[in-house]
Symmetry: C2
Subunit: 250 residues, 2 copies
């Protein structure tokens, strides 16, 4: 099973219809980051939520609420972000079908995978997309590519469901290693960026967000294992301490 992660969803109706689309395709793990209407929902909103779900209650009853995307994906080994429009980011672009096949292969190999969906009007912000390994781009009529949120979830979930009968594509062979859980990777990235900041790497505050984004995208692409993340922590530590301080600390 994969996780569906709604980031800042606005309308409870869309959350309800998302639950329906998920259960249609056998998915139940729904995670919600900062919904517009605070949870637990007021009664009248809760009624609208469940009405839109049309008895697809399992994903709603088990839904978990988070206050940041990072928290919501902390335990996952693989995260894809959905977008309708091209973004200026160096990431691998996959179709829903391709993503579904690859996620099946990952899940069978014991990994946990999830897909991020942005809010209705804006889609995902770049900083959320940066947290993902790949971008799922849903190919649509270029003259009208604005998919309803639950429709976007359905396309991904439908391909996931179809993929159980399709032959599975190759994924990176890792032996007994897993990609690092996203929380481990995020810890490293935060630390790395802090150290770079301290070291005066970011010469201009204006350029910093773009530089951070590029670094994060580059390291996401590497599919680092837990061991590799530990090694990188060590490397950064070593660089920061420098030869003199390392000698001193011995």
């Amino acid at each position: 099973m994969i996780s569906i992660i709604l980031v800042n969803p606005q309308m409870v109706e869309n959350i309800g219809m998302t639950a329906r689309a998920m259960l249609n395709c056998g998915l139940t793990d729904l995670r919600i980051v900062n919904p517009r209407d605070p949870w637990p929902l007021e009664d009248w909103l809760r009624e609208r939520l469940y009405a839109a779900a049309s008895r697809a209650e399992a994903p709603l009853n088990g839904a978990r609420i988070f206050t940041s995307v990072q928290e919501a994906i902390a335990d996952l080994h693989y995260v894809a972000a959905t977008t309708a429009q091209a973004r200026d980011m160096v990431k691998r672009w996959v179709t829903p079908k391709q993503a579904a096949g690859e996620m099946r292969a990952r899940v069978q190999a014991g990994q946990k995978a999830g897909v991020l969906f942005g809010p209705e009007r804006t889609g995902l912000f770049n900083e959320d997309i940066t947290l993902a390994s790949d971008i799922i781009c849903i190919p649509m009529n270029p003259d009208y590519s604005s998919l309803n949120l639950a429709q976007a979830v359905l396309v991904v979930a439908y391909e996931w469901y179809q993929a159980q009968t399709n032959p599975q594509p190759d994924i990176l062979r890792m032996g007994k290693s897993y990609p690092a859980p996203r929380a481990d990777l995020h810890n490293f990235l935060t630390r790395f960026e802090d150290e770079l900041q301290t070291a005066g790497f970011f010469t201009s505050e204006e350029m910093k967000p773009t530089m951070v984004q590029n670094l994060r995208n580059a390291l996401q692409r590497a599919e680092l294992t837990e061991q590799e993340v530990r090694t990188l922590h060590g490397a950064v530590k070593a660089l920061v301490q420098g030869p003199k301080r390392r000698l001193n600390s011995q």
Copy 2:
């Protein structure tokens, strides 16, 4: 392009979201048979319709309203019916993907194709399915297979859109012939059944609907050309007149 035909849709919101799903996939020909709310819609319903469509107005502005499925499909050469559950009918079952590929091939060969979607609560009635050549069964979680109407349209439209880049499957090679327009086929079937009725073929009124349904399904599967339908008309006429009357009429 293929036509989307909604049979007895109940909620204007679902019609609006259908328009959105259609335009996402480049489709604009929307036909509606006996909607619950009569068209032209009252202002307040019209507002809800267009709000649900979220600026996907082309399919709505050009939508045509019919009073029977037969009328709505009269000009089409190929019609598929969608169902969520198995029906006890001898028809070819195809996946949305298979149907999409075949409809692409038909449209490129100059044929007009369309897909029937039933009302929200019940799905299509058997008598409507009988009018179709094939059944599109959307493979879903057997424990929760109830798809929202607009979601069902999206799956079919999405596969149609994807199919433009997929290799196309074989369809029946017909040289320069087309399958008979559905109106021609229906004329023949009606006449055939009338003649059978007159001839006392239907020994019980109770069994008649099932027998008619089986006949219609069998002849749908034949993909009769216009010429073949004309020939069958002649055959029925000849059988009815019998050898004596034919001699007399000469």
